[in-house]
Amino acid sequence: MAITLTPPQRVRRPADRRHRGAGRWIVLALVGAAALAMLVPFAFMLLNAFKSPADYSTNGPLSWPSEFYTTGLRTYWEQVDFPVKLWNSVLISGSVAVLAVVVSLLSAYALGVGRVRGRLWIIGLFLLANMLPQEALIYPLYHFAKEAGLYNTRLAVIIIFTVIQAAFGTYLLASVLGTFPRTLLEAAALDGAGRWRILWRVVLPNVRPTISVLLVFFFIWTWNEFLIPLVMLIDNQTQTVPVALASLQGDRLMDAPTTNAGALISLLPAILFFLIFQRTLSRGITAGADK
């Protein structure tokens, strides 16, 4: 948001390059350390995904695999019928990301630009929907879905998450649009543009970077959701990837290497998605900066 509308603050730096260097190196080291700390769990996952269960139990999670063991990956893929789960996850997360962004934009336009009376309260209410623990929502949602005949359908999950994610999106976009330059809007209105036209021709191009970020977030958040899909999708044919991953965990026993293998496979699509959209994201930012 700040990227398009407020130009980056130019801080006067001392001209001496070496002076600037010391602080930069410290920051670089800190960032490097933080990045490493973030990567440690992934490293463990990778390490244990290619280990046989016996190897894992005998030598623990820290050891180097004694053989390159891929049966865990294959077991997981076949046991949970991964392509079906992947399709379900992509369908649900993709639909939610797009729908939630559209809904957020429309409601944020009304609240942020339209200046509806009591908008602060409305936004607060929206945010509440996002802050409520899902455990509290689950029973009412179950009953509504059952009454509507949507229980055990992907549509139910798409609707629920579109609303939940749009609540956050509205909050964010409304505050962005609250600071939208009135002069731009007035100029457009003087040129004879209606509200609809202003939204698509003036507002949308300016908030596109924010929207791209929201799109990516909504996709990944929905992708990782567990509880609501677990409750709403009971057929193996409709389940999502995180629910499939949970099927590896038994009553009293766990199979750590297969779980790691499963986590690895399940994580890849989300990472891939992020990498692909990372490009669009930065392109969106530069496009906005040109304006």
């Binding site: 269960p53 016996a54 894992y56 139990s57 005998t58 030598n59 623990g60 046991q79 179950y142 059952k146 229980y151 055990n152 677990l230 409750v231 009971i234 057929d235 193996n236 629910v243 499939a244 949970a246 099927s247 965990q249 038994g250 009553d251 009293r252 026993l253 766990m254 199979d255 750590a256």
Partner: protein, 431 residues
């Protein structure tokens, strides 16, 4: 326009007729059902997974024209949602479900499970299962032990002692037959700097060891009081007092590592698999995994001196009240009780409930099953310490963590676990 209306009416009438026909099919007995929707959550290579796959095959052979729609479920999913699933029309015709008051008991009291009493007597399940196994199959207003049949267990489980034969031989220790001999054996290990007993304070093993120790001084009346609320239980008297004090003594003497307070059951299991721990006291659910992952020589022995042991039937086959193929479901349960399937469970590291140990090939498997049969036939299954009241598992875990890291005395721990028990029982009795 007129034409359109005619078509619309025709379609509506056809649709109504179709649903009407389906409804008739439902009412006219489910022997007509052509689909059996079956769910369970055992992994494909476990004893139950293998045996039940075979049972499905047999079922298909005997019911040509019936489609079996099997789905393997996540344990967590059934645990969290069984009530919601069975309350909808999307549920299965037969499924595996957890035994106990909080699970099968609760659903049976809500009318979500079909009453199997008639089938159990007609098909002889009531004679195939010993009384202590039947306890978890029958529920009266949601409380196990008596009343109608709501589930049928296929396998059993109990808490036993796993030991590393090589470490025993190396330190000149023989298999103990009394609790005193067990203590002496552990002294030998401690003297040589080896912690004899693997433990996990953060999960169920600590509570189960405490319960095993208490059971060494207990009789069936205590179990009925503690588990079935026959009479109030005094936590400050034996056997529970003895259990807590002996547990504390074992910690003091170094039989149990103090840093095991924060360990998970998985850590205890991998400790044994890696050959570092001479003994663990834990359930038969480890058996299959140990068999496939351990390279050294190991075996099991019953907790020495006890006639009562923590243990019960395994999970149950239940038939939801909404099942559209009840009689097919009963046929399937009956197949799983046959000797062929029961032997298959036994030969793959499980404990059959109606099995003949003589048909089991592997000596380790046979020992496990013979021990279970001995316990079961002398009415020695005492269930688990966390069963009596909802949420008691966490109470026990935090209580015995305090005992393992010696931050609390046995008296304090007994006080801490007595109150939630008494409150919970009062709550159950009020309903």
């Amino acid at each position: 326009m007129r034409r359109f209306r005619e078509v619309a009416i025709a379609v509506t009438v056809a649709a109504l007729a179709a649903t009407g026909l389906v409804a008739c099919g439902d009412d006219g007995g489910d022997s007509e059902a052509k689909v059996l929707k079956l769910w369970h959550y055992e992994s494909a290579n476990s004893a139950m997974g293998i045996a039940w796959d075979r049972a499905i095959e047999i079922f298909k052979d005997e019911h040509p024209g019936v489609e079996v729609r099997f789905e393997r479920k996540a344990f967590e999913q059934i645990q969290q949602n069984a009530g919601m699933i069975l309350n909808s029309s999307e549920g299965p015709d037969i499924m595996e479900y957890n035994k106990g008051n909080a699970t099968s008991g609760l659903l049976s009291s809500q009318g979500l499970l079909a009453d199997l009493t008639e089938e159990a007597t007609k098909r002889g399940w009531d004679t195939a299962l010993s009384p202590s196994l039947q306890t978890t199959a029958r529920y009266d207003n949601g409380v196990m032990g008596s009343g109608n049949w709501y589930g049928v267990p296929n396998y059993g489980e109990y808490v036993t002692v796993y030991y590393n034969k090589e470490l025993f031989a190396e330190h000149g220790v023989t298999v103990p037959r009394t609790l005193a001999e067990m203590a002496a054996a552990m002294d030998t290990f401690v003297a040589k700097g080896v912690t004899p007993l693997g433990m996990s304070g953060a999960e169920y093993p600590a509570g189960q060891l405490f319960y095993q120790l208490a059971l060494s001084r207990a009789d069936r009346a205590f179990v009925n009081n503690y588990q079935l609320y026959a009479n109030p239980v005094d936590f400050k008297a034996d056997p529970l007092r003895y259990g807590a004090e002996t547990f504390a003594e074992w910690v003091r003497k170094g039989y149990v590592a103090k840093d095991s307070a924060s360990l998970k059951a998985e850590d205890m299991g991998t400790g044994f698999i890696s050959g570092k721990t001479p003994m663990i006291v834990s359930g038969s659910w480890w058996f299959g995994r140990f068999k496939s992952e351990i390279s050294f020589d190991w075996d099991t022995f019953l907790f020495p001196g006890n006639t009562l042991h923590a243990g019960s039937s395994g999970n149950l086959w239940v038939v939801p009240e909404t099942s559209k193929a009840k009689s097919l479901a009963y046929d399937f349960i009956d197949i799983t009780m046959r000797p062929e399937i029961q032997t298959l469970i036994g030969n793959n590291g499980g404990i059959p409930v109606a099995g003949d140990p003589a048909t089991i090939k592997d000596p380790k498997d046979r020992k496990l099953i013979e021990d279970f049969n001995r316990v079961s036939s002398q009415d020695g299954l005492a269930f688990y310490p966390d069963w009596p009241v909802p949420g008691y598992y966490d109470v026990l875990v935090s209580g015995f963590q305090g005992l393992i890291n010696q931050s609390r005395s046995p008296e304090q721990v007994l006080d801490a676990i007595a109150k939630p028990y008494q409150d919970g029982v009062a709550e159950i009795k009020r309903d």
